[in-house]
Symmetry: C2
Amino acid sequence: MTIKAILFDTFGTVVDWRGSLIAELGDWGAARGLAADWAGLVDDWRAAYGPSMDRVRRGDLPWTKLDDLHRASLDTLLPRFGLDALDEAARGHLTLAWHRLRPWPDSVPGLTRLKRRFIIGPLSNGNVALLLNMAKSAGLPWDMICAAELFHHYKPDPETYLGAASLLGLEPAEVMMAAAHNGDLAAARRCGLRTAFFPRPTEYGPRQVRDYAADSDWDVVASDIMDLATQLGC
Amino acid sequence: MTIKAILFDTFGTVVDWRGSLIAELGDWGAARGLAADWAGLVDDWRAAYGPSMDRVRRGDLPWTKLDDLHRASLDTLLPRFGLDALDEAARGHLTLAWHRLRPWPDSVPGLTRLKRRFIIGPLSNGNVALLLNMAKSAGLPWDMICAAELFHHYKPDPETYLGAASLLGLEPAEVMMAAAHNGDLAAARRCGLRTAFFPRPTEYGPRQVRDYAADSDWDVVASDIMDLATQLGC
């Protein structure tokens, strides 16, 4: 196994989207005297993520970057949470909260170790600006930003995994996909990439129903990114 | 002037392609007892760069990444330097010397200062793998890799400058192009980007004929990347 690059799923795998968004939206609301079920809004916002990308995957929508899908989903959800009075500036600000997600505690130290020996980057459905701003604010030491936006296809479409290997100038088997989601790894393996799993059992809070453990014989199964670095000899 | 990202031309601006290639090819030849006019080969190789991209810009060639243009130019040149006996492995190895170019002395410390306040990346005609491998070997602390390859257009086509701003989620005026080449900056300015010039008067060795100084009122004119960082308050 000669791995030259490791690409990471990002939402849930590297950053805690749920905890970060509930904290940011809660603080934002408190500063404005706005009470709302922020956790419910965050959970429903994330629940709209898959279906919104499905519209692009099926061709019902032309290529649309995730910032714009996030904003459209937010606009749909706000009335249900009594927040339909939020103005344009507020909606734009909240949508960009996805650019400010916080890393899990092992992410920055683990990636820093892996970066010494491997090319590291995200391979995420987030758009480039989202991933780049997240890296700057969270201190993620990526070597490059690889995003679905570059291929105009959302994961798990094969164009994303194969397109990433091509940009890196590597064979698929020289690239490892790392994710806390078995489905992402299954799609990467079908494209010939190597695979690494570690669980994030609190990612979805009370709505978590899967991905507590590896459900296949992935090339590496670790407890977190620090353990992945150890297992890869970094 | 609110600059959020600074994109750098790379060949000549950040790395010394001529000195690096002459040293690497000379060492490689010496280790094999091969004598040749290595400096002449390097200068002619670089002279083939513009015309090879012109074939893509005019549509005579479909999109072709720079690694492949470099290889085709090398194949054309080797017989003129008495090196037509070089085998496939040697040709592949020499082509990848462009991935191992060395930075000018001010590049890494200057970029490290700029990175604290700005998003920094290359905006180069080099392909992603070339720029990424160069960054890893030279220690260039880019936040992201922006390459002509992402847009299937070579600079100075406007698709490159505008495509980069779009990926960054920024207005063109929030992006600064930094280059040791006045022509690159003129094209960036026509697209609405901010501009920074610093000279690299030894870039082309005895063949240098231009770009000894700024030939327009660029937003910043500096002596090198350290001075650029100082002028931008980093």
